[in-house]
């Protein structure tokens, strides 16, 4: 796939993340033992052949810059193209909901202006899926469309956050809606647009820079050729700490794990940290769990996700839980339905539990 630019926005936020996104952008919430959410859209672009990706920064972007660096792991540290960290438009405040703020595009017009690429893939960074954009871009180009919106057909729309696409028989976009129930075309926060059309939209709406690009597309449904593409694979949407737990536990299902991580052509790349292997000591008992390197396990771990360099002490029990990097669970502690952010220390014989619908979140660096 040639001649395609990537544009990833990271300023999405809502009130349901709690401590998980208190001091970091949703795009950098750690996920799946060693990844961060932004690894998915970024890797999708790279393995589809995108060689220049702009990433707009969110309010809290230290972790974003730390994680992406020069883009080495995504082979984006290049002389031509590469990774561009683009200053987001909202330095001082959090913007709720808006994923594709016009301001973010406007602020970084130079990046789009200078691009020689004729097509842009625009994506938010809170949905988890593994996609090959190559055939979609080919279809986009041959169809003569100006915009291709990517969606997934779902049956439980009331459980998901919108927007949803309203499509005609041919799959052309006829409307966008926030709410839907039952069967619906769930927008994956990802669309393909011709560079010159994107620049025109930016120009036309310049004075209304508080608008979201999806609102602008919605406004122009009759004036532009906007088509859709259905993605049939797994999609995990992280819109709350509950969703985060569900998407994480989805990784214990082999078919989902395979689709996301074991596609030899479409690999998900992430920052490499070279942790040693994980060590399972004689008293460990681990089942149905996804474990990253560098962990030292002496206790019981069931239906859980362990990140790098986690320590589970002797007799400790971790069930239906997520322990992020360098979490330390002391002997005899019992955790159930808990999300421990990075560097959490749980004292010996402490009992912590959330419930299935509201996992208990322990914040970064907390000691309990």
């Amino acid at each position: 796939m040639n001649n395609v630019l990537g544009f990833i926005t990271t300023n999405y936020m809502n009130e349901n993340f709690g401590k998980l996104a208190e001091l970091r952008s949703v795009s950098t919430i750690p996920f799946g033992g060693r990844y961060r959410l932004i690894d998915f859209p970024l890797s999708n672009m790279v393995h589809s052949g995108v060689r220049s990706v702009g990433v707009t920064t969110a309010h809290y972007y230290r972790s974003l810059v730390d994680h992406l660096g020069a883009g080495k792991e995504w082979a984006l540290d290049r002389k031509q193209g590469g990774l561009f960290l683009l200053p987001g438009s909202i330095y001082g405040m959090r913007r709720f909901e808006g994923k594709f703020l016009l301001r973010d595009f406007l602020q970084n017009r130079a990046y789009l202006d200078r691009a020689s690429e004729d097509t842009v893939i625009v994506s938010a960074s809170n949905k988890i899926f593994n996609i090959d954009f190559d055939p979609i871009v080919t279809k986009h180009r041959s169809s003569g469309a100006q915009v291709t919106m990517i969606y997934k057909e779902i049956a439980d729309a009331h459980m998901k956050r919108g927007p949803f696409l309203e499509l005609d028989q041919e799959g052309n976009l006829i409307g966008l809606t926030r709410e839907a129930a039952g069967n619906a075309a769930w927008f994956l926060d990802c669309f393909i647009i011709n560079t010159k059309d994107l620049l025109s939209l930016i120009d036309w709406y310049e004075t209304m820079d508080y608008t979201d690009m999806t609102e602008i597309l919605s406004e122009n449904i009759t004036k532009m050729k906007i088509v859709s593409h259905e993605f049939r694979g797994y999609v995990g949407a992280v819109d709350s700490s509950y969703d985060y737990m569900q998407c994480s536990l989805d990784l214990l299902k082999p078919e989902i794990r395979n689709e996301l991580f074991n596609n030899n052509r479409n690999k998900i790349y992430t920052k490499v940290q070279d942790a040693p292997p994980s060590k399972y000591l004689p008293y460990s008992h681990v089942s149905n769990s996804f474990v990253s390197s560098g962990s030292i396990i002496e206790g019981t771990v069931e239906n859980s996700i362990l990140f790098r360099n986690v320590k589970i002490g002797r007799g400790a029990v971790v069930r239906n839980s997520i322990i992020m990097q360098r979490g330390q669970i002391e002997p005899g502690a019992v955790l159930e339905n808990v999300i421990c952010d990075k560097f959490v220390f749980v004292n010996a014989h402490t009992r912590l539990s959330g419930n299935r619908y509201k996992p208990l979140v322990i914040g970064k660096h907390e000691t309990v």
Binding site: R257, N262, P282, S292
Partner: protein
């Protein structure tokens, strides 16, 4: 060609076959053999260089270098992709007067004098790509400068009854070396050479030229160059290293050194944050431990999938242990696969090799370690089976 001046250039000897490792080095050079789950043996020396602030490393390759070359790449995995130095892979090459293989360790350096000269260094560090240890060479260099030695040899104390297996150095209380004996019958010292040398470059340079002109020389540091310098009355000093150091020369020592990683008291700690050992690892997802899996005392790497039972073993990345498979006291190299009901004891399974369903390999109490090379399929003799490629994607 203009190169930046470097105070110290490291020359890493990685050309040996390591023939005593048998099947493990059939396709790759010994420094490229996987070790301890996620590493390859050369990781230790390369990481030591980085951790010692030595950023210019010439890697001398000769035997089956394809994989080793691609593994080293730009050196970026060890932070050695440095603007003013970095890693250079140095295979034997032809000149206007012909070409030939490296005839020995000293010859390999001799024929790369031009490479070293281009950095105009004061010192040259000679190391091997097949030793397991963590060492800060900058401390040895400080010692070398302090003693104003012409050559400093790093030594380690070995048990007296083992001293006759090593190159033994005799030194006075100041560390000044008076004698070097290769595998002495009656050792008068237990200071064994670790094969790590720091030379003043001008001393080494002229010694290499002199050695190259000697038709009777084997062009080996231990055998020829060091005795020559000693006989010339040069100042040789011993630098005593006290950490963990192993030369994994044989299958037996390779096996036991790996297994020591499971022993908390072995002194070889790859978990500590100090002197980290880097590696050029692929990005694998975390490993998955199945519903009915059981793991008792093991190291497990990313990309592996464990559905069966593992006892006292080391599992590299991309390993697959199917349901009802059992592995004990074994080392599984990257991509090794045990299919349903396979049983493996005291074995080393090479990269991407497959143990077919129901097949049994090794014996629980055998003295000998069973070794399966890379890309092999071990069939169950009692049953005709069609083995396919393992790995997580088969799920």
């Amino acid at each position: 060609m203009h190169m930046h001046h470097q105070e110290c250039v490291a020359m890493l000897l990685a050309g040996g076959q390591g023939s005593r490792l048998g099947a493990l080095t059939k396709n790759i050079a010994k420094p490229a053999v996987a070790f301890g789950g996620k590493h390859r043996i050369i990781d230790f020396s390369l990481s030591n260089c980085t951790n010692s602030n030595i950023n210019t490393v010439g890697v001398l390759t000769q035997y089956k270098p394809l994989f080793l070359n691609s593994y080293i790449g730009t050196g970026a995995a060890w932070d050695l992709d440095d603007t003013h130095g970095g890693v250079s892979v140095l295979p034997p090459f032809a000149t206007e007067s012909g070409g030939q293989w490296y005839r020995g360790t000293a010859d390999a350096i001799y024929r790369n004098i031009e490479y070293i000269d281009s950095y105009n260094p004061l010192y040259v560090l000679i190391i091997s790509g097949d030793h397991l240890y963590k060492m800060d060479y900058s401390l040895m260099l400080d010692y070398h400068k302090k003693t104003k030695a012409d050559l400093t040899i790093s030594v380690i104390e070995v048990p007296w009854d083992e001293a006759s297996r090593f190159g033994i150095l005799t030194a006075d209380e100041n560390g000044k070396i008076s004698k070097f004996s290769e595998k002495p019958k009656n050792p008068d010292s237990n200071l064994a050479s670790m094969g790590i040398y720091i030379f003043d470059w001008h001393i080494l340079r002229s010694a290499l030229i002199k050695d190259s002109e000697d038709p009777n020389s084997d062009h080996d540091f231990g055998k020829n160059v060091i005795p020559m310098l000693l006989s010339e009355g040069k100042d040789l000093y011993a630098y005593t290293f006290t950490g963990y150091w192993k030369d994994v020369g044989t299958i037996d020592s390779y096996y036991h050194t790996n297994m020591e990683l499971l022993d908390p008291d072995s002194g070889f700690n790859i978990f500590e944050d100090e002197m980290r050992v880097f590696s050029n690892s692929n990005i694998y997802p975390p490993h998955y431990i199945g519903q009915s899996a059981a793991i008792d005392n093991a190291l497990v790497c990313n990309g592996s999938r464990i559905l069966g039972h593992v006892k006292h073993s080391i599992l590299s990345f991309g390993v697959f242990i199917d349901e009802d498979a059992y592995v004990e006291d074994s080392i599984l190299l990257p991509g090794a696969t045990l299919l349903k009901g396979a049983r493996v004891y005291r074995s080393i399974i090479g990269e991407n090799s497959i143990i077919s369903p129901g097949a049994v390999l090794g014996e629980p109490d055998s003295e000998e370690i069973t070794v399966i090379g890379d890309n092999q399929t071990v069939e169950n003799p009692g049953k005709k089976v069609e083995a396919d490629k393992g790995g997580e994607s088969r799920e």
